[in-house]
Structures are given as C-alpha cells and as structure tokens.
Symmetry: C2
Subunit: 377 residues, 2 copies
C-alpha cells in the first residue's frame, strides 16, 4: 500500500497542492516554517484521522479559511487504487470516506493504512510520566488487535466506577459491589497484561537489535515491561491492596500503573543517556514497531521521518538511511531543512529518491535534474 | 569574566580532563554519546552549582566512582584569576569554594558567573504548563534581584498557609487570620507582579527584535505577560475571589497563576509555530535574556549553545552565528556532532574559534591545524 497522489486544500499553511509520489523515498526540503512537517501531518491524517501533533481539526485549517480537504490516492498490493478523503468544515464533524463511501465510525478506518512516524517530539516517551508510555503501548496494540482496545475501554470504565465507589464506602451493598468490580477488573487486567507482555517480548529484542545497528555496536539498550502483574496475579493484587485502597479511596494496584523501563548500559536512559543516545533509542523503538506492524498486517506501513538529522550524528544517520533503504521498507517520506546534506547522504547510499522543495506553503513538483529517479511529475 | 581552564575528575562520562579555552568561541565536536553536552554541564555547575538538565549530584558522578571534582579558573575583567571548585562525594553535601574559601550558602555564588544556555530541551518552555514559564521567569529575575527571590519565597509560604487555612474553615479566628494572610499576600503579590511586568517589558522588544534578525524579517513574534494583576490589584482580586476560595478551599487568584503568552503572526506559537519557528523563538528569547543579564551585571555572561543546528535551517544558523560573533558577546561554548558543517559555518563567518574533539569521554586538546586561532593548548 503506498500513496500515489496527495491533494490538499487549505490544510495548515498549504493553500493548494497536488503531489505525485514515488513508491520509495520522497523528501520534502525547505527552510523553517515552510510547511514540510505539515505535509507529513496530512499523510498522518489519511491513516489515523487526526493530526500527529495533538492539534484539533480546526487548528489544521489554514488561517482565514473555513475548512480543509485532504485527498489521497493509494495503490494496494493487488494493484487497485483506493481513494481516501478527509474533509473538515469549521463547526462540523470531520468526515472520512473510502472509495466515495463515508465511514460511519472513523475508528473502522484505523489499521487500513498503517503508518509509523519518527519525530523530534517522540522524546516525550522518555521524559514524560508513565502515562505517556502506556498511551504509546495502548495505541500500538490497538492497531494490531481490536479486542485489546475494547478490553482497555472496559477496564478504564470499571476502574473509574470502582474509584467512585471507594469514595462512598457507606453506600448500600458496598462490599458486594466491590467484589463484582474486582472480578471484572481481574479478568480484564489479566488480559491486558498478557497482551502487553507479549508485545514487549516481541518489541524488546527488535529494538535492541536496531539500536546496535544504529550505534554500530557501540552501546546496548534494554526495554523491559514493568507491571505489578509480573509478580502477582490481578485478583490477588486487588486482595492485597484492598486495605490501602479503602484508606486512599482509589485503586492503588493494577495495569493502570504499568510502565516501560528503558535503559542504556544498565542505567536509566532518561538520566544517563545523552540526547543523541535517547534519540537513537526512539528511532530503534519505532523501527521495531515498523517490523511488528508490517508482520501483523501483511504489508509495509508508510514510514514518516520528520527532521531526519535531529540529534543524530552522521554515522547514525548513515546507518538509519542504510536500514530503511532495505527493501523490507516500503514508501518513506523524509523532511529536512538542508537539501545539500540530505541529497549527499541519500546519493552516497545509492538510494532512489524524489525530492520536493517546499517554500512558504507551496510545494514544487520534482524537477528531473533534482531527482535521482528523474521521473516526471 | 571568562573561563580559562576547566579541570574535571569523574564528572559524568569524563574520567579526567584539563582544557584551556579561548576567551571567544570554543567548539566541542564529536559523535552521539561522547560527552559534548557533559562539558557544557560542567561549566553550568560552576555558575549555578547544579546540572542544567535536572540531574542530581550523584547522577553526575561517573559510573563506579565515588565523587566528582569540577575546577574552573576564570579571568575577571580586571585581569585577576578566580578559582571556583565544586566537589561532591556520594552521601555528602556538595561543596563549592571560591579562591580556596568554601561558601556557607551555595546561593551566595549565584550571579557571580552569569551564564545563558540554549539547548534542545528549552522546548518545555513552549510545550509544558504555565508553571514551567513561571519557573523560567523566577529564575531569571532571581539572578538579577535578590529581593525578588526572598519575596517569592515568602509569597509561596503564605500562599501555602492560606490554602491550609481554607481547608479548616471552622478553626478559631478564621476570618481574622485570613485577613492577615490577604494583607501579606497583597503586598508581596503586588511587588512580584511589578518586577515581572518590568522584566517582560524589557525582554519582549529585545526578543522580537532578535527573532526578526534570525528569520531575516520573515516572521513576527510577540511575548506578553498574562496576569490577573494586569487588570485588578491583588488586594481587590483577593476580595473578589473570596467566595470562590471558600468553596474551592484554595486560593484561586494571584501571581501564582501568571503566564507568558508567546505568539507568531498573532497566533499561539505552541499550536501554530513550526518546530523551526518554535526553536527560533527560544533562541531569540535567550539572546534577549543575555542582553538583560549583561546590562545588569556589567559584564558579559558565558553563552552555552548546545546542539547549535537543532531544528534551525542554514540561514538561521548563519544569522545566529552572525549575531553571537558580535563583540557584545563574550566567551561562547558550542556543541555539534558534525565537525565539517560547524567549521564550515564558522570560517564562512570569519569567526575566531578553537575546536575540541570529544570521543568517548576524552577531549583532545585543540591542534594548531584544527583551530583558526592556531593557539597552542
């Protein structure tokens, strides 16, 4: 599945654009604030129905306009074309259609066009609280497994109900209702824990391997799943924490407190990893995620590399380009503010790429002399 | 005031180093994870008695060692030498001495060796909550004005007491004590507000001007002070929010809710600025801060530029180098992972610089042929 043509209308700073892409490497180059990342965000919209940067739909409308249209024509592995259109008008709900037919639920679309993005803002995964890492894990597993998402929603719902109950310990049938909640939480928590453990068992060695490659065997990293359920089954945990829960008036143990531990050379990555090492870790994690998503859905996700030189030294960028130019990767979109260095590293690696120059919200079609593929737009 | 010689022992990944610096531009170049930023952090320690990255002292000790020593010999504007030594042993309090005499209070040292740092992690100022921006403001004004810091400490103390009181509304003499707290808060809040307003009135035009220069007049940014006290005096504010405070059981109005608004072209920078524009804003803000600190203390702060190419396009890095190579800037330390591009841009701007190669915690003394100043170590 790759994106053949992207058409935009009033999306962020881009008034209008129609771009034809290579099925392999596409590069957006331009100065700060010209709109490179906005092009990636439009592609993200077509896969995930929302901005990759936490912006609301209305914040993605060009200043002074009333709505946006993002239109993508994809080629499926079987050679058919699929048209996905996302439209939004201020004050209305956004609409998404596939082949002219509007989705009833946007969530039905998630997973059809898998996508993996590497961006400077990924550092939140290292620097922010465990909630951020749980959100990452939940979003990744949900793309692979719809049952996981529904179990998660039910777990969170019952957890909220149980916490409400713990604040009203004098209410009728308190003990009986608590028992029912505990049984439900135990079943759901156990299922969530199993799925998370399986995913991290798959993810951890792939990420460690990708990191070794990026750093040319210079450093070793580790990713481990932290959960109270690793030692104690959820039903037993709820029994053990019962007294504490009654005092604190909320549920003190469970998979809602899970975390991922990231370390380098045995020390916590957040405190002891340099900025370049932290970035390398995040790149390795996303490459591992790419392999897992690809294996699961049977075709290659689109890879978005925002600001590819961000914090990485030349050796590591070379390694990264070397990794993604392998044919197990499909279509790739790269942004960089420096055309010369990006072209240098791509042609040095004998990569086939198409280059788009972005200036002030306008995207120039690739010129034959600018592109190593020499293809006409 | 500039740093002539830095000696390190077991600081982070650096076992031992003794470096002689140029009074102008010093560059640390090396691959990811070699220790470039750790050198900047050591210089930060000598000025601010702590890490610039929120690490504890023990986290700054080299793995497997028992303590660190950071020793700096500075030249004062009058030509004298000042030796500052910071030593830390695990399990003990860190010690700081000036000219062999140990400080009783570390805070007495703050302000002697002013420093301004520009680093990738500055983005927290844009992306995090108002607390982060208040912390920035407080730390900046405290460096300029000791009375401000003591007023701030008292304000926070009385605020905490008032909130405690609001949770015990049945306590004896409740109304009388609340009145006393309100009088004290009003006086302190008014003083803090005045000082913050003055600082931002000074900072805002300087930052806007620096941004214009960085972006070569392409974009306009604005920095404004948001405070309830801009419209309502603190004593009146406390009267107006009294009922709300009694219901909520905490103080809902005051300078503890101040914020700084940052905008680009009239729109919020956080949502509408690109990553490069946000970075440019932060650089402009720090350059404005530099000018204010320099004017206040009568000599030029040391400027630390960590990862100078982070998110900026070539034009903006050129502009930045152009700005800081002006003689109103003093000693500068720059890190970058790419020696060729850094040397290219510095020599292109005819800058006088000394270059140190960092590899795996070891810093090579500048070689005559590597340095445009040609000075021997």
């Amino acid at each position: 599945m790759h994106l053949n043509r992207l058409s935009l209308l009033n999306f962020k700073n881009i008034r209008e654009a129609q771009l034809d892409f290579s099925p392999r490497i596409n590069c957006f180059v331009g100065d700060n604030g010209t709109g490179k990342t906005n092009l990636l965000d439009a592609i993200h919209y077509l896969s995930m129905c929302k901005s990759a940067f936490g912006l609301s739909d209305s914040q993605c409308v060009r200043h002074g306009d009333e709505g946006f249209v993002v239109n993508g024509i994809y080629s499926t592995p079987t050679g058919r074309n699929e048209t996905i259109v996302c439209t939004y008008q201020r004050g209305n709900a956004k609409k998404l259609s596939r082949g002219g037919k509007e989705y009833e639920k946007l969530s039905d679309h998630i997973g059809l066009l898998p996508i993996v993005m590497i961006a400077p803002s990924d550092t939140a995964l290292i620097n922010e609280s465990g909630e951020e890492r749980r959100r990452y894990l939940n979003s990744l597993i949900s793309q692979l497994d719809r049952d996981y998402l529904s179990a998660l929603i039910r777990y969170n719902h019952i957890l909220a109900e149980r916490n409400k109950l713990l604040k009203n310990q004098g209410s009728a049938n308190f003990n009986e209702i608590l028992e029912v909640f505990d049984m439900q939480l135990a079943a759901l928590g156990t299922a969530l824990h199993k799925r998370r453990r399986e995913l991290i068992e798959e993810l951890a060695p792939l990420a460690a391997q990708a990191y070794l490659k990026l750093s040319e065997d210079r450093e070793q990293v580790e990713l481990t799943y932290r959960s109270e359920l690793n030692e104690t089954p959820m039903d037993e945990l709820l029994r053990l924490t019962r007294t504490k829960d009654l005092v604190n008036q909320f549920t003190t143990g469970g998979v809602h407190r899970d975390d991922i531990r990231m370390s380098i050379g045995g020390y916590p990555l957040r405190k002891y990893g340099s900025q370049g090492q932290q970035k390398s870790f995040l790149v390795a994690l996303k490459l591992a995620q790419y392999d897992i998503v690809a294996a699961h859905c049977g075709h290659r996700p689109i890879l978005l590399l925002d600001d590819i030189f961000d914090k990485l030294d030349m050796q590591r960028v070379e390694q990264l380009i070397g990794i993604v130019s392998d044919e197990r990767f499909g279509q790739i979109f790269i942004t960089d503010c420096n055309k010369v260095r990006l072209e240098g590293i791509l042609s040095g690696n004998r990569c086939d790429y198409t280059l788009f120059s972005v200036a002030d919200g306008t995207v120039a079609a690739p010129q034959p002399e600018l592109s190593s593929t020499g293809q006409e737009p």
